[in-house]
Amino acid sequence: MSGRGGLENINPQVYGRAGNRPEGPNDWNDDVPDLFDAREIFDLIRHIRDPEHPLSLEELNVVEESACEVEDMGEGGQGKVVVHFTPTIPHCSMASLIGLSIRLKLLQTLPARLKVDVRITPGTHASELAINKQLADKERVAAAVENPQLLELPCLRLPEQTPIETQEKTVWSVV
């Protein structure tokens, strides 16, 4: 957290929310394979709470549907998901934690055939390379997730729970 006491980004820009996904003709047809697409990935992560503000990542424009790329080859094939996220300010110390919450949400919900990469939108953060490297290191992610204190943080909890005070945790380095 900020050493100045108080929020880092006092007056963030708030964006609107996308509506519900429009239904298509094959949605209820079990014979048509339902591959993952960008909208579905976005739907999984848009409600993640920001660690500092009582807003979702979508409302802060940290994640957007156009920044989610999916290549799903279906059962038996190997696909990949790449999500770029944009911290609200270039020195945001929560960026690493936000990236972790996105990565965790996807790891918990997507099938093993989809390899997940979560990265900072190029040019939007001062420690972009260091944060990307940490997010890509599954051993660090696994060790962080084993820490129950980390999982108490609002961005890593379910959307309906109220935010609590956050603290820097040495188990996940806040770059």
Partner: protein, 333 residues
């Protein structure tokens, strides 16, 4: 298309490490479910012989057998290393090595069995002396890396240690005047070095990295014919080969077979590759051929591979898909 000899199920979460005992009769696996599992052959099939369910309070990251085959060491995210007496079927924890600040990533025994090395996310490598009566004394704490140390491994015959790190480098350590210190740093990888393996002679080291390449490093002794400089009269190590373009994601483990010279790699793209050096290759510019690829060896990242030390061509692999597989590659040698 090669299929596995056998798939061993039982682990309830990802398998991080697979390791054979020196006799090649026991396979030991460990993972996120806090357990260590012991597998042995009964007739023609490998079966679970022992499940140490709460071997640690967190993920068990690595297990290693002492050269005598009686003692097992296990490294865990709970920041400790446990020493298990396996002389009888009644396995007992006889010592716990504490000291690391956070997750211990790897443990390795020296060839003589008198030293043990451990490494951690706390950036340090520790060397322990194995004493009588299960007494382990810490000989050195070396915070030489600038980031997490992912793996440590001892030289196959000498008391020389190598470590691989998140800081993209590999360091080599030895003892002089009762002091352990770094005598060489190998730079070249462009991202985290996940694992390293010496060949049978100890004059070559293979490394694998998040940068999706494998590098082969060659040792040059002082006074070498090639004219390689050896500062401080210490051996120098140079990268003599880089294998790139074969792996699509981070390479998590590499194993160099002492019997056949084959190198196996396990990758985040679920594939196992086997490489072998071309015969009559120039020692200073060796060429390695890909002799076998197993696509979808597992249904998720393959975290660990290990060659059986006594049965040529027998490979074990452990994966995020919670299974362990045994492969018979004798037909390619």
């Amino acid at each position: 298309m090669t299929t596995a000899l056998q798939t061993l199920t039982g682990h309830k979460d990802r398998v991080w490490n697979v390791s054979w005992n020196p006799q090649g009769t026991i396979l030991t696996t460990c993972g996120t479910d806090h357990s260590i599992r012991i597998w042995a052959k009964e007739g023609d099939t490998w079966t679970s012989k022992n499940v140490m369910s709460d071997a640690h309070s967190r993920t068990v990251r690595c297990v290693a057998w002492s050269p005598c085959g009686n003692t097992l060491a296990s490294a865990s995210f709970d920041a400790t290393v446990n020493i298990w007496d396996c002389k009888t079927a009644d396995i007992e924890c006889v010592a716990t090595l504490e000291g690391h600040d956070n997750e211990v990533k790897c443990v390795s025994w020296s060839a003589s069995g008198s030293l043990l090395a451990t490494c951690s996310r706390d950036k340090s490598v520790w060397v322990w002396e194995v004493g009588e009566d299960d007494e382990y004394e810490c000989l050195a704490v070396m915070p030489s890396h600038t980031q997490d140390v992912k793996k440590v491994t001892f030289h196959p015959s000498l008391d020389i240690l190598a470590s691989a790190s998140y800081d993209n480098s590999i360091k080599l350590y030895k003892e002089s005047n009762d002091d352990w210190s770094v005598f060489c740093t190998l730079n070249g990888h462009e991202s985290t070095v996940w694992s390293i393996a010496f060949d049978g002679s100890g004059q070559r080291l293979a490394s694998c990295s998040d940068d999706r390449t494998v590098k082969i490093w060659q040792e040059y002794q002082p006074g070498n014919n090639e004219g390689i400089a050896t500062p401080n009269n210490e051996p120098a190590w140079k990268c003599v080969c880089t294998l790139s373009g074969f792996h699509n994601r981070a390479i998590y483990d590499i194993a160099w077979c002492r019997l056949t010279g084959a190198i196996a790699t396990s990758c985040g793209d679920d594939v196992i590759h086997v490489f072998k050096e071309q015969p009559q290759a120039d020692k200073n510019a060796p060429m390695f051929d890909l002799i076998l690829t197993i696509p979808q060896a597992h249904t998720d990242d393959v975290n660990s591979v290990s060659w059986n030390p006594t049965v040529a061509g027998l490979l074990a692999s452990g994966s995020d898909d919670c299974t362990v597989k045994l492969w018979d590659f004798t037909h390619i040698f």
